[in-house]
């Protein structure tokens, strides 16, 4: 589903590479934690999958497409197969929960009948039944993140990318968010999640890819957060 083939990414010519010779293959339906210290290249890894950035060297395949050969014209179609969640939620403050989720479908031109059918379904899936008419500032951080997940998932993407989705949320609420991501993963969606949250990585025991200074230093199935950070 996602293949990095010896990928190097250099942002500025003087600086050191953000990613260096990265080889990672993520298969359909996997759940992968991407860990590593700040600046190790986790967000860069996710941005490369979306073709928000281009690799300096190496090839990337996502959902059967070779990104280097993908024209700008086709990028939106790639992104429709990928959902995205961020630490800062990125909801639209002047739209309620239903409208925020519907927005993702409206802007790709889905018919209104279809939107009216699927939006309530996904809102139930993330555990926000009955809160469809709340505005974002009437929700807790955890609830806002559920809205963001609903929006990312409403178009049933093949891949869900999450960049520190629990970064702004307390540990107890984080577990709830993780349960939602796990539920989405069980529908067959591939999930890649960058995180600093050792407790969550250790509790869920999924595949762990660790980056350090832009290199993959560990790739472990059913892994833990890491010895260096006081893991198991």
């Amino acid at each position: 589903m996602i293949h990095f083939d010896n990928v190097t990414k250099v942002y500025s010519h003087q600086g050191r590479p953000a990613l260096q010779g990265v080889n990672v293959a993520v298969e359909k339906g996997e759940f992968v934690f991407l860990v590593g210290p700040s600046g190790s290249g986790k967000s860069t890894f996710l941005r490369l999958i979306l073709k928000e950035e281009r690799p300096t060297q190496g090839g990337i395949h996502v959902a059967g497409k070779e990104l280097n050969k993908l024209t700008n014209w086709k990028i939106p179609h790639l992104r429709r197969r990928i959902g995205c969640v961020f630490q800062d939620f990125r909801l639209l403050p002047n739209k309620n929960v239903n409208e925020n989720v519907a927005f993702a479908l409206e802007v790709i031109g889905k018919p209104r009948r279809f939107i009216r059918k699927v939006v309530p379904e996904v809102i139930d899936l993330v555990g926000l039944e009955g809160k469809g008419h709340r505005m974002p500032d009437e929700l807790s951080g955890g609830e806002q993140q559920r809205v963001a997940i609903a929006r990312a998932f409403v178009n049933r993407p093949m891949i869900l990318l999450a960049d520190e989705p629990t970064g702004n949320i307390d540990p107890a609420t984080s577990i709830g968010i993780m349960k939602v991501l796990d539920r989405i993963n069980r529908t067959g969606t591939t999930v890649v999640m960058a995180t600093h949250d050792a407790a969550i990585v250790d509790a869920f025991r999924k595949r762990v890819v660790e980056l350090e200074d832009g290199r993959v230093v560990r790739d472990q199935s059913r892994g833990v957060y890491g010895q260096a950070y006081g893991g198991v």
Partner: protein, 301 residues
């Protein structure tokens, strides 16, 4: 593509930058109105020029009892003098034809021409306008030699070259036309800069929305269309104001000009409508294009 969604986005964009939108509309309106006026004046000049170029004449007025010219000594030339003048005119290589107009004919023509202003036409007397020769030139521009030979000739009171009068009139119109076009060009530059600024602000205000649209895979068309239409609508509103101003231009500027200076043919509403449609389209295209080019800098893929 969902029209309602796009329209809603445009409305939000225009309302958020209301002051900029108003400035833009006013600038576009003035630019297009001046541009259209310039084009109208040009059409007026061309049309009048065409109309008159085969009609202008050099009029050679002969002396009579009322002539103010001292060389005439208040005497009418004899028939043989008149024939001599006519022969001389006809022998000139520049002259196409010569027609004589008697006092009586001139009197009748003046009566007809001013019949709408009775106060004036009543005061015209037979003999006010002397006998004359109306000289048609092969090339209306070659009047100088004819005028030089006739001016001061015995029996000739004055030589009036209609072409010279027309040229003065065309010069004024031409000057107005260029003034309008130059100011319009400056206004067009101002309009383009204002569009760029308005769209930049709009893109900045809506960066959250556009950021999400990019991430969920909205096509560039969908992301950019509301902005481009925002520019286009501002251009269209400006163009509508310009159309009204051009209507005034036609009635008050051209209308008055052609009525007061009797020798201009007036442009019809058909011509004016063409100019209006062209100006409005130009305004819309200009604003849309400026928006689109601005977006390429401020919205990345």
């Amino acid at each position: 593509m969902r029209a309602q969604f796009v329209l809603q986005e445009i409305w939000i964009g225009l309302r958020r930058n209301l002051t900029m939108t108003i400035a833009l509309v006013v600038t576009v309106a003035i630019a297009m109105a001046l541009f259209g006026t310039g084009v109208l004046l040009k059409m007026q000049v061309d049309k009048s020029n065409n109309y008159w170029s085969d009609k202008v004449e050099v009029s050679v007025y002969l002396c009579n009892k009322l002539s103010a010219n001292p060389a005439c000594q208040k005497k009418e030339p004899s028939q043989s003098d008149k024939d001599a003048i006519k022969n001389q005119l006809q022998s000139m290589p520049q002259v196409a034809s010569v027609a004589a107009e008697t006092q009586a004919q001139a009197y009748q023509r003046a009566k007809d021409r001013f019949k709408d202003t009775p106060g004036f036409s009543d005061t015209i007397q037979l003999g006010d306008i002397p006998d004359s020769f109306r000289v048609k030139l092969k090339d209306p521009k070659q009047y100088a030699a004819v005028v030089a030979q006739m001016q001061g000739r015995q029996g000739v009171d004055q030589v009036i070259n209609e072409r010279a009068i027309l040229e003065k009139f065309f010069k004024i119109l031409g000057g107005l036309q260029w003034a309008a076009l130059i100011i319009a060009a400056i206004q067009v530059v101002a309009a383009v800069l204002l569009v760029a600024n308005t769209i930049r602000l709009s893109a900045f205000n809506r960066r959250r929305e556009t950021g999400i649209m990019r991430l969920v895979g909205a096509s560039n068309l969908y992301i950019q269309l509301p902005f481009v239409l925002e520019g286009a609508i501002a251009g269209l509103i400006g163009g509508i104001f310009a159309a009204v101003l051009l209507g005034f231009s036609k009635v008050f500027l051209l209308g008055r000009l052609t009525r007061n200076l009797q020798f201009a043919t007036e442009l019809g509403w058909l011509d004016v409508t063409q100019v209006i449609v062209f100006s409005v389209c130009f305004g819309v295209v200009l604003c849309s294009l400026a928006s689109f080019l601005t977006l390429r800098r401020y919205l990345k893929i």
